[in-house]
Symmetry: D2
Subunit: 271 residues, 4 copies
């Protein structure tokens, strides 16, 4: 096989764009407020002096942004258990004013992998799951069986709640359905490389683990125990509607040194 | 062919990472200072209360960033000629406090295309081209012939100056070689979809177009006249050393609504 | 008289602090969102290395802030009528990416002047005026007469609505009472140097001038027509309760070059 | 005496403005880079719609700022010794993502006090002291004696190095003269309330305390041991030239909750 075929294949693939648009006013998790602001400050007329500099002018702005705003991927330094990261790396030895010396966003390799969609909302024949619904292992398993799709080691597993359409409505969006503890255990057993959902936190944000009192169980179980990255705020509607349940997943985080996550624009490609 | 083959191909490809690392202190163009800052403010010990909330803790920071810092791609609204963008769209009708209503970064489609590398430094058998050297049409043509590589419509054309290794030295990096007017004319004739280089501005920053008095001729000629995107601050050394001159280019800008560019982590894939 | 007496007088004066506390979550005008964020990123343990550097350590953070957040004063470049500032200075000739070349915050002289308080809420014997109540010329005049206080040229005139106590409740605060068109005409006639109120915009935000269709009539009439500065988000409760209606006003804006306003911590001093 | 006299006195006083102008490009301490940026993003033409909204338009920007940029005052939480602040308050109990729960900038009372200027450069008959010159106790004492000025408890003590004129030249400014260890011991003995200088750090930045290995001895000795605030980046040239050595000092920090300092525009008033 040669490279030519590869770019021809990619250029010819159908591309599903899984990123939400980024703008001031998009839903932001309370811990990550204000989240996002872009101000255009250099405008074209500012430097337009045709008699001296010719016809060309430039423009640009300034972004102020939490790394957990918009569609993004969590780095392994984002979460710790008992002040240890994945594989026992100590928080205290790696925490700096400008980020972490280990497991920062720059350490996330590009994700070029088999992607699998479990469309829980579609399987349950609803536009959206109920607010704060906790998706169980049984849900994931049932949906996968129904679609006759297998989740395999190394996959990127995407779970659809139907809440992407609430992106203009922060209050509704922050009450999205998410994955329960049992769902997270099921997921980790499948040894996927990364997971993602069309909600703010992957996890069901209102569920508390009775054993530890922890909220966001999956953040601990996936990122810390298993080193599985989490992608949040995906758009999965068009992909779900297309009927594709397996696809080529392309997700390329930015190398923000030491940061606890990165914005990302994931793509699902099918021939 | 089916999707399965596609992810297998991608997962098995050799991946060249063309992005520079992002950190405060990386070289920044004077017009885009201060460029980049990441401050970690939520630290793990801040929320670590095991007796009440279990073992889990989270951490995150705040990014302040010009969209033209680090490895990035220019949106078509970044440059204008006589206050018009590509295809005559008027600056004045589209300029807002929060960006442009047309040609913002969110309008750049993912780049999944044939990529071509013209390693000018390597062809001239130098580690780096001389400071501020202006790469001519003859250089591009000669290098392409020597490598027996053809630049085709729709390609992403990458040009190597050798200055990526000066990424820790702003003064040296800002004097990188770049593409001359003749090189830009040659490039546009080939109807590529995007270009990129391992320097700050693609163009030779010290060259002034004698016909218009304009600096950064290519910014006008490519972005405004031809709608060809420009990618800056690439790392091309490992790709060049590998000997590959054509490859599958993967570059996925973020949808910062109305912004004049986006950070990007481009990849070159070969089987 | 000599300087010694001056500092003795000031050091002995009773000081009323008229500034609201600044924190993420304080009320912000929709046009100035997100308004305010402070992230502590350099922490003491980061640099604490007693064996090498001795016992000392330092800490600091990063502020992201709109200049119209919190208690602040408007510069004359903040508002224009028909694209002209006070005294006919043209917007287009003074607007830059980094602010205005005239009438920026750095041009506001320190305010050391007679201050006068018209406590409209107190005069009407209510804790707060009704939401969006528009304070009329008759209100200002009646309150001044009742307090037998004269508003004189060069004064700083403060008007109390009673809404400072809603500083923890953005929804309530954004519906504060404010000064009506007639109140602004009355104010300008008195040729005061600056005005201030315990609300977001000085003006009644829901009132529209029937003659021009303009909201925030006072912003045009005071800043543009008369060159009178406006101070917003004051705390006037303790001052009002003290019974003082005239005092020494001390307000010192910061010289943010070209900015359209400045945070300020005004003081009212009485012997 | 009544309040009327107070405002008349203040309004009639000669005012020396001790604040440097604030702009991107002013000198910034390496630990506080990038320090300062103001971007104007809402411009007047953006909202100017006279036919619909009348003649008025507004404009504003976004500030990104370290609290230790420009002329500013240090809060007591800025410095610690052995992880304790002034009076033994523990760093670990007060440090939060959004600042300190004790000794933040909001706790600094307005400074209305006797001010004293020790013009060391003038006394030594030089425009500027030599780069990195360390001002000794003998210098302070000799200068005070020569000026027959006494430094008293509760004063604000200002020390002039002559480096304010290097505000456009960061390299020169960062090598300003400053106060030595002996000078800091002398200062603290006088039980002043605050100190300030026309340099980046008050202290001589190149001096290391031989007993502890500490740089910035005064930051520990004044802020931590004695609770004396430090003001940096003052302009003292006009005040020095006026011949006034005692004056009424007015300095009003902003209440940035939890922040380690505040920008400030100090004034020196003389009758």
């Amino acid at each position: 096989m040669n490279a030519a075929a590869l770019w021809t294949r990619l250029a010819g693939a159908r591309v599903f764009d899984l990123e939400q648009p980024r703008f001031a006013g998009m839903p932001i998790h309370p811990a990550h407020k204000p989240g996002y602001h872009y101000g255009l400050h250099r405008r074209h007329r500012d430097t337009y002096r045709p008699e001296r500099f010719g016809p060309r002018s430039g423009s640009s702005g300034i972004l102020t942004m939490m790394e957990h705003s918009g569609t993004h991927i969590d780095a392994l330094c984002h979460q710790a258990c008992d002040l240890q990261f994945y594989r026992g790396v100590a928080v205290d030895k790696t925490e700096r004013s400008d980020g972490y010396t280990e497991y920062g966003a720059e350490t996330i390799a590009p994700l070029l992998a088999r992607g699998v969609l479990l469309d829980i909302a579609g399987w349950k024949q609803v536009d959206r799951l109920p607010p704060n619904y906790a998706i169980t292992a049984e849900d994931l398993d049932g949906c996968a069986r129904h679609a006759t799709i297998e989740v395999r080691p190394g996959d990127v597993l995407l779970v659809r709640t139907g809440f992407a359409s609430a992106w203009q409505d922060e209050a509704a969006y922050l009450n999205a359905a998410g994955v329960s503890k049992s769902g997270n255990l099921w997921t980790a057993e499948r040894r996927v490389r990364a997971v993602g959902a069309d909600n703010m936190a992957w996890d069901c944000m209102t569920e508390k683990d009775p054993d530890t009192n922890m909220v966001l169980f999956g953040h601990a179980h996936l990122l810390v125990t298993h080193g599985i990255h989490i992608i949040e705020n995906l758009v999965l509607d068009e992909l779900a509607a297309s009927g594709h349940r397996e696809f080529c997943f392309v997700g390329v985080p930015l190398k923000f040194r030491g940061a606890t996550g990165s914005p990302i624009r994931p793509l699902a490609l099918v021939d």
